[in-house]
């Protein structure tokens, strides 16, 4: 029971990490083409990529934090 719940917690974390990785590969990596039509400088592209990646990571941390709160409430009341 205890291990099963923790395993589910870990699987959700794994799925969230893979979802973020997929998002970064599909949308953020080719951003110079998507947003700037291949015309922007490397520094501009890097700054935009960094900003999007940071926002995505903050969303991931927020999601994990919520998950932690729900899990702790269920387990420890």
């Amino acid at each position: 029971m205890g291990f099963g719940d923790l395993a589910i917690f870990v699987v959700v974390m794994w799925a969230m990490i893979l979802a973020v990785a997929a998002f970064l590969v599909i949308f953020v990596a080719p951003i110079d083409v998507i947003m700037f039509n291949g015309q922007a400088g490397r520094l501009t592209v890097s700054v935009v990529q960094a900003a999007i990646a940071m926002i995505v990571v903050i969303v991931l941390v927020f999601g994990l934090s919520r998950m932690k709160r729900i899990y702790m409430q269920r387990k420890l009341g």
Partner: protein, 339 residues
């Protein structure tokens, strides 16, 4: 690229050096530390027996000896970068072992462990790719990759450090996490970095013999930071960053739970409310205190009290499960590459 004969020979040599240096030096280190009075109480046992600490210098001796031989055999700069980063992380831990440092010290000082990876790549080249391996593809980020290295090294170092709460857990956990990392480096990284990773696995195996329940020596911060930073350096140099994170998930989860609870960077010993309670029968129970930080151990014992050995076993079960998830991620990436 190395041929199969060299790969097997070099692999056997560096693994043996790391394993035997540590296994042969540890008994002497235990005697020496005990004689010098460098002992700390084993908090979860009856009578709180005094255990020698730190084993970090012996672990570094084994790993450094193996890596230096590997560098002389291959002259690969990534091997040099990995061993220098490891030595810096060890030094940071050794300072913390010798005197009680504030909570910010380890994460900040561990930034220095990223320097060899960055500087040797800039001046010599060939330490790491300028792209991040994100399972579904590689993202070429030459400008962002350097700051990312400065983020990864303190995180991996502190993550292993924070899971070193029970006998044998840090070393056993590294052994389990290294299996998928080695596999990933072998497939997506280079032969030389794969060989450079073997001394870490065999160092952890040798050290586990003395660190497992009941521990005869503790790694100390020098040992755990060394383990964690070397793991991070290998993930970077071996193009296996995300696979490395996945294999490390229970430890990442532990750090995340703690930080999300206390909302600042502090040493565990500075937190007043303890996450677990040691009962009269020496079993660990989850604290009901609302202000106590959440940790992996607290979640494990939330269903009922367990003794130290059983908690360690649960952590290893979880580590094995996440190693399987890391293997699943490797399979996904391999399938995508083949398409």
């Amino acid at each position: 690229m190395l041929d199969v004969v060299n790969l097997l020979t070099y692999g056997a040599v560096v693994s043996a050096i790391s394993f035997f240096v540590i296994i042969l030096l540890l008994p002497a280190a235990i005697r020496s530390l005990t004689a010098k009075g460098k002992l700390v109480p084993d908090a979860h046992k009856q009578g709180k027996p005094m255990i020698p600490r730190p084993a970090g210098p012996v672990i570094l001796a084994g790993i450094a000896a193996a890596e230096i031989v590997l560098y002389l055999l291959t002259m690969n700069v990534a091997v040099l970068a990995v061993v220098l980063s490891t030595a810096i992380a060890f030094s940071v831990g050794y300072v913390d072992d010798s005197r009680m440092m504030p909570g910010w010290f380890k994460p900040v000082a561990l930034l220095a462990a990223a320097v060899p990876l960055v500087s040797l790549d800039l001046y010599v080249g060939g330490v790491h790719e300028d792209s991040l391996n994100l399972v579904f593809g590689r993202v070429f980020i030459p400008l962002l990759y350097i700051p990312l290295i400065f983020v990864i090294m303190p995180i991996t170092g502190n993550t292993i450090n924070s899971i070193d709460v029970l006998n044998g857990v840090a070393s056993g956990f590294i052994i389990i996490a290294m299996i998928p990392l080695l596999t990933s480096i072998a497939i997506f990284g280079s032969h030389e970095v794969f060989l450079a990773a073997l001394p870490l696995l065999f160092a952890a195996v040798a050290f586990y013999k003395y660190h497992k329940f009941p521990s005869r020596i503790f790694p100390g911060d020098s040992g755990t930071l060394l383990f964690g930073a070397m793991y991070g350096a290998l993930a970077i140099a071996g193009s296996s960053e995300i696979i490395g994170v996945i294999a490390l998930l229970p430890a990442v989860m532990n750090s995340f739970l703690f930080l999300a609870s206390v909302r600042r960077i502090v040493e565990h010993r500075q937190v007043k409310a303890r996450p677990t309670i040691l009962m009269d029968d020496f079993k660990l129970a989850a604290s009901k205190d609302k202000t106590a930080p959440a940790t992996l151990v607290r979640l494990i014992v939330a269903d009922g009290p367990l003794d130290e050995k059983a908690v360690g076993f649960q952590i290893f079960k979880l580590a094995t499960f996440t190693a399987l998830l890391a293997f699943a991620s490797i399979a996904i990436q391999y399938a995508i590459l083949r398409l």
